[in-house]
């Protein structure tokens, strides 16, 4: 009986789980694709590898490793790093932030501004609070919000095609 209930519960949860997986996959793909539309300051281009760092939880599991193994961004091999704390984030090109704490996120974005790092998060209000790219999935549709001022502050240039499909914040307001 218990097994049956667990089975039914699993079936009921399956669509949500599937949708979540799809979103995660898209999110994982988008991280690399965002990078294609971003120009970093020249000094940061001297690194031999393109570094993507996840700060705090890793919602992707092995997905990122599978996806970016043997791939290249800006003609560089990709290195994935996983950090639990901001202090563990070293030199990186992209910082995907999953921090739940707003203050911690703010600190991370401040760090990113100083070091010319592209910040991405799906946390609500991320772009308004200084993050560069905020990803939202609403009814299985992607919403991209870009804080252009934050990108400029970080010394990053965002390509017009990406801006053309995103909701762009000029300052703190869209």
């Amino acid at each position: 009986m218990l097994l049956l209930m667990v089975g039914l519960l699993s079936l009921l949860q399956a669509p949500w789980v599937y949708a979540g997986d799809e979103e995660r996959k898209l999110e994982a793909v988008f991280i690399g694709r965002f990078a294609s539309y971003i120009d970093w300051p020249d000094k940061d281009r001297e690194r031999e590898r393109f570094v993507i760092t996840l700060l705090d939880d890793n919602p992707f599991g092995k997905l990122l490793d599978d996806l970016y193994r043997d791939k290249r961004i800006h003609n560089k091999p990709i290195e994935l790093r996983y950090a639990n704390k901001l202090e563990q984030v070293g030199e990186t090109d992209v910082l995907f932030i999953t921090l739940r704490n707003a203050a911690a996120r703010l600190a991370a974005t401040e760090f990113a501004h100083k070091n010319g790092i592209l910040t991405i998060s799906e946390a609500k209000g991320f772009a308004e609070s200084g993050g560069i790219i905020q990803l939202d999935f609403v009814e299985q549709k992607t919403r991209i919000k870009i804080n252009h001022a934050a990108a400029v502050k970080s010394g990053l240039k965002i390509g017009a095609p990406l801006l053309s499909i995103a909701t762009v914040l000029r300052g703190d307001k869209p």
Partner: protein
């Protein structure tokens, strides 16, 4: 049927028809060429549109942004000829589409099915960044191209347009061609009307001359031309033929009217001329004279000297007659040794004078029939003049002259007797 039409109209028809046929063929080639260039041009425009949109669509497709993709495609409504535009991701799933308000659902469905089929069928072509699929038929044309991101295909963009603009241009061109053809045809007919004269004028001139010759029997006619072409040869041949006919006509006429031995008029011709002379004499109220003459003992000449000498005697006699008669008198040989002189305005005195000149002339003429040997002949003459008996028929006059001749013979020959 065609044989009944005159050469003139045949030439007009042939010249006009040939030129018109050439024009129609060139027009058809021009129309087909225009169709090819217009279809290429229309597809090129659609390619350009697809290129621009696919460039902008890359980011939307990369981030599965259906709203942005739809917004980009929505701008296509500015072109009323775009029927359908479809953006699909790499799995063939529809991301965004634009559908013209005027596109029937059934057509939309058919287009989409054809698109899906093409994406599957042409997957190899669409796997290349420069690959594309284009199709054009009577009502629509399609350009389908892949969208690449970081050297990987992430989807496709297809734009389907109607072909109204292309057909409108072709229709316009065809109308211009038809108008030009009609105008040219009229000009060609006018031109062929003029050009045919180059060929028909010499022929018509030849025909007119031939008709004139046939009517007037004037074989001295000569066709002149400054041409240097085949008509010049035709004219020359025709002139040569006329000259031949004229020469043959003369020869035949001479054979028919003259005596072959003496060259004098023969009996038949003498009778014809005599009737004419009599008619004229009656009209003018003038007399006409007839002198019938016959060589004396001519049979003996033939018997003694042979016929060649006899012929020589006859020829010499003819010369004496021509010398003795007046310029406007007619001298004829009636046959054998019989001769006739018809004296125009022949009063009896004039006739007697002529007759006496003949008699004396012949009497005094030594006819050398071989070197060192000659002979003399005499002649008897019967003289008639209508001076005192105008209006008598020819037969009566001849009979009278003949009867006088008979009497001259009876009177001892070498003399003349007046009838």
């Amino acid at each position: 049927m065609f044989d009944r039409i005159s050469i003139r109209y045949k030439l007009i028809v042939l010249l006009g028809l040939s030129a018109w046929l050439a024009l129609v063929i060139s027009s058809l080639i021009a129309i087909y060429s225009t169709y090819l260039s217009e279809s290429k041009s229309s597809l090129r425009v659609l390619h350009q549109l697809t290129d621009v949109i696919s460039e902008n669509m890359r980011a939307a497709l990369a981030f599965s942004d259906a709203d942005s993709a739809n917004a980009m495609l929505a701008s296509l409504h500015a072109d009323p000829h775009i029927l359908l535009a479809v953006v699909s991701d790499e799995s063939g799933k529809l991301l965004a589409e634009y559908r013209s308000a005027g596109l029937p659902t059934s057509s939309e469905q058919a287009f989409k099915e054809a698109l899906q089929a093409s994406i599957r069928k042409d997957a190899g072509i669409l796997g290349s960044p420069l690959g594309f699929v284009e199709r054009i038929d009577n009502d629509s044309m399609l350009v389908l191209r892949p969208i690449f991101f970081e050297n990987k295909p992430i989807g496709t963009l297809a734009i389907i347009s109607d072909t109204e603009l292309m057909w409108a241009k072709i229709r316009e061109f065809v109308l211009v061609q038809i108008a030009a053809s009609v105008l040219t045809l009229v000009l060609l007919l006018f031109l062929s009307l003029k050009l045919q004269a180059l060929f028909t004028r010499p022929i018509m001139s030849l025909i007119a001359t031939m008709q004139e010759v046939a009517q007037t029997k004037n074989y001295r006619a000569v066709l002149t031309s400054n041409r240097r072409d085949e008509f010049k040869s035709l004219y020359d041949v025709f002139n040569a033929m006329l000259a031949d006919i004229h020469e043959r006509d003369d020869r035949l006429s001479k054979l028919a009217t003259t005596d072959a031995l003496t060259g004098l008029a023969n009996r038949h011709h003498a009778m014809e001329i005599m009737r004419t002379m009599l008619t004229r004499a009656l009209r003018k109220g003038e007399p006409i004279g007839i002198i019938m003459l016959d060589l004396d003992f001519f049979k003996k000449v033939n018997d003694l000297y042979g016929h060649p000498v006899g012929d020589l005697v006859l020829q010499e006699t003819a010369r004496v007659l021509l010398d003795s008669a007046r310029e406007y008198d007619l001298v004829a040989r009636l046959g054998g040794e019989e001769f006739l002189v018809i004296c125009d305005c022949g009063t009896l005195d004039a006739c007697i004078a002529v007759a006496e000149r003949i008699r004396l002339g012949l009497e005094g003429r030594s006819i050398e029939y071989q070197p060192g040997h000659s002979l003399n002949v005499t002649v008897s003459l019967g003289v008639y003049s209508s001076e005192k008996r105008p209006g008598e028929p020819i037969e009566t006059m001849i009979a009278a002259a003949d009867e006088a001749l008979y009497r001259a013979k009876a009177a001892g020959r070498n003399c003349y007797i007046v009838a």
